[in-house]
């Protein structure tokens, strides 16, 4: 009885192996669709949908793989060739290539040139034109506090704190402790936040910190935020400028596999003009429509592209 089962399994198994080998060795189709992906956040879905809309409107077949996962997952996927294009931030090159100390990352043009060179050499990935926006770490204060005390930049904040201003910041533990985050701001602008002026949260979710400031939970009147967060304007917060340029510049740009670009060279010409129009206020407004108003990211992307004349 046992022998019969073994023989049947051997035959069945061999048949399955042969069939799958035949299927697997089928020639790769000539014009495979472009697999567009994105990270699992609001801006990722906005930019990813824009890429899909622009490519589709110009006759390039796309496959929707948006909201795939965190940076690590999406980056691993493109390097493994499982996706073809996704919007990435130039500043992240510091972490991909373990080069955090390099001051080039603090400059938009230098950072972009550096990450473009490194990725082309090491991973055969091409960075297309970045958007003139900076989605970096920032400190945002309540609009009423900023207006009353004339706070426009972090330098103004330092002066106001020295004069005894009432300030409480909601931020993630990572932002408070990382030497290139809050400590870097404090050192550059000459202020120091005491423990009573900080509310430490576990995760890096800026929506939570922004909500805390908007609702003045536990006396919070400032929040850790990202430069292009959509919830800022809607919840009455303003970002304080960083004139000394402490943080690396995180400009969003399409990152595409060289093989895909070779197959569809038009992608470059189609996406570059679109990304060039996406400055900070524009991204903030569009992100706000998705995050605060709850509109569909695809709809917001479509309406914007149509209004600007990139698609019919």
């Amino acid at each position: 009885m046992t022998k019969l089962i073994t023989r049947r399994w051997l035959i069945g198994g061999t048949l399955m192996m042969t069939m799958s080998m035949m299927l697997a060795s089928a020639p790769a189709f000539a014009q495979s669709p472009v697999r567009v992906s994105s990270k699992i956040d609001t801006e990722g879905s906005l930019l990813g949908n824009m890429i899909i809309e622009v490519l589709r409107a110009n006759g390039i077949a796309t496959e929707n793989k948006l909201q795939l996962g965190t940076t690590k997952i999406v980056r691993a996927a493109i390097i493994a060739g499982e996706i073809d294009i996704y919007p990435e931030y130039t500043g992240n090159g510091a972490f991909f290539f373990s080069d955090e100390k390099n001051p080039a990352w603090k400059n938009a043009a230098a950072g972009y040139a550096l990450v473009k060179k490194l990725d082309a050499e090491k991973n055969h990935l091409e960075w297309l034109t970045p958007a003139p926006a900076d989605n970096t770490w920032a400190i945002a204060v309540r609009k009423d506090v900023a207006q009353k005390n004339h706070l426009r930049s972090l330098a103004d904040l330092a002066k106001w704190l020295a004069a005894g201003g009432k300030f409480k910041l909601a931020a993630s533990a990572e932002f408070i402790e990382r030497s290139d985050a809050l400590p870097a701001f404090e050192k550059a602008y000459g202020f120091k936040l005491s423990d009573s002026q900080l509310l430490t949260l576990a995760g890096g979710d800026t929506t939570v910190t922004i909500k805390a400031a908007a609702q003045q939970t536990s006396g919070v009147n400032a929040a850790m935020a990202y430069g292009t967060d959509g919830a800022l304007a809607a919840l009455g917060l303003v970002v304080l400028d960083d004139p000394k340029g402490i943080q690396p510049v995180y400009a969003p740009a399409p990152l595409v596999r060289e093989a895909t670009l070779a197959q569809y060279p038009r992608i470059k010409g189609l996406l570059n003009p679109v990304f060039r129009t996406l400055d900070g206020p524009t991204l903030r407004e569009l992100n706000g429509k998705i995050a605060v108003d709850g509109e569909d990211a695809g709809r917001v992307a479509h309406d914007y592209l149509k209004a600007k004349g990139f698609i019919k």
Partner: protein, 403 residues
């Protein structure tokens, strides 16, 4: 307390009344990110239009009073049926009143500020709603259980309790509620996520059955191999079960990516570092323990004399297995299958973090974007799926049971 004939009902009705009085029925927020201000049930009814107020009195006040009265009625077939009907009407009334009031708030906002986008404000369910809804469901389930129906009839009765709510949903009465607005903005993504979730669950449970059932049967056999391997096998499965799911997904990412890089054929078959493969492998491993254990337990609880009698009657080992052991072991096995499936449906939510899609994608979008109703949009279908699958499997198990 001799005049209290139904203590369970007393507790449920008491808790429901306390919640309805003390907690908000609905919450209204200016946008989907900020916390809303609560609106109590009394305030909702008071500020409703004439027709809505009459509807609320008929579908909420009347059944509530009848349920309270049923506490003092001796439990009998008629009393149980009455309780089921009242609980169903109460549940439907709560849900429909929420929908009607949300529509009313939306139309007021539209009148007051026609140029602003009225779609932004959000009306969500409050604490009182959830508690009373769950308690009505429990009341109805308790009464159905007390009726002592056959398994299929019990399933149909349970479906009849939720049917009116589903009709409200389909008729569009609930469309102005925050949950439905979130759905409306991503209907396609939701259907895709639902389909992917079902695919992940099936792709995990089927292999775990294929591997687990033979393994469970083999582990009950008394031979040199199994006697040596039995303890390590169950110890191994126990250890796998204790690994947190997200950790196991993360642990599988690297080896699978390495494998896919060196064996390109696997990549073309779909086994890659991210996506479905690590999720399905991990979920299969998690489902193995309940299935192997329940198969083994089921076979081991078959009385030895029955097997001896069958052998004595001249049945071959194969006939003994299929005609005696399997049918007797089936109920225990079915219980294990229920556990494994419900567990997989819940765990598949985390699979979205590694790119496998499914309803978890919607949950995490909501968590990362701070929109709690989006989280609900992902979680409620998972809960509903688990409840439906559990009920169907339980009915199947009872129906197929040993005659």
């Amino acid at each position: 307390m001799a005049w209290v004939k139904n203590r369970v009902l007393l507790v449920l009705v008491g808790a429901g009344a306390a919640a309805a009085a003390g907690l908000p029925f609905l919450t209204h927020a200016p946008n989907r990110l900020v916390l809303g201000t609560g609106i109590s049930l009394a305030a909702t009814i008071a500020s409703s239009a004439e027709a809505a107020r009459a509807w609320a009195l008929a579908t909420i006040a009347a059944p509530a009073l009848l349920l309270a009265a049923s506490v003092f009625v001796r439990p009998g077939r008629a009393a149980h049926l009455g309780v089921i009907v009242c609980a169903t009407v109460l549940l439907t009334g709560f849900v429909s009143l929420a929908g009607i009031h949300a529509a009313q708030l939306a139309s007021i906002a539209n009148e007051l500020a026609p140029k602003a986008n009225p779609d932004i404000a959000r009306t969500s369910f409050g604490g009182a709603f959830w508690i009373v809804a769950v308690l009505s469901w429990l009341t109805a389930s308790d009464a159905i259980a007390r009726l002592g129906l056959k398994p299929v009839s019990r399933l149909l009765a349970t479906a009849a309790v939720v049917a009116p709510v589903l009709i409200c949903l389909a008729a569009g009465w609930l469309d102005q509620l925050s949950l439905l607005k979130e759905y409306a903005h991503r209907a396609d993504a939701f259907s895709t996520a639902l389909r992917q979730h079902a695919e992940i669950v099936v792709a995990s449970v089927v292999p775990s059955l294929v591997i687990g059932v033979p393994l469970g049967i083999a582990s009950t056999r008394d031979n040199r191999w199994m006697n040596a391997l039995r303890t390590p096998l169950f110890a191994g499965l126990n250890v796998v079960q204790t690994i947190p799911s997200i950790a196991l997904f993360a642990l599988l990412l690297a080896p699978l990516a390495l494998l896919a890089a060196h064996v390109p054929m696997l990549g073309r078959l779909g086994i890659k570092g991210v996506g479905l493969a690590p999720a399905v492998i991990a979920l299969t491993l998690y489902a193995l323990l309940p299935i192997v254990r329940s198969t083994a337990a089921g076979i081991r609880q078959v009385p030895r004399p029955v097997v001896d009698a069958a052998t004595g009657m001249g049945m071959s080992p194969r006939q003994v297995f299929w005609k005696v052991e399997a049918p007797l072991a089936f109920p225990v096995f079915a219980a294990g299958l229920r556990v494994a499936t419900v567990q997989t449906i819940g765990m598949a939510v985390v699979a979205a973090l590694i790119g496998a899609g499914g309803l978890g994608a919607i949950v995490f979008q909501g968590l990362l974007g701070g929109a709690l109703d989006l989280v609900l949009l992902g979680v409620l279908p998972v809960v509903a799926m688990a409840l439906v699958v559990d009920a169907v499997l339980a009915t199947l198990a009872s129906s197929i049971g040993v005659r």
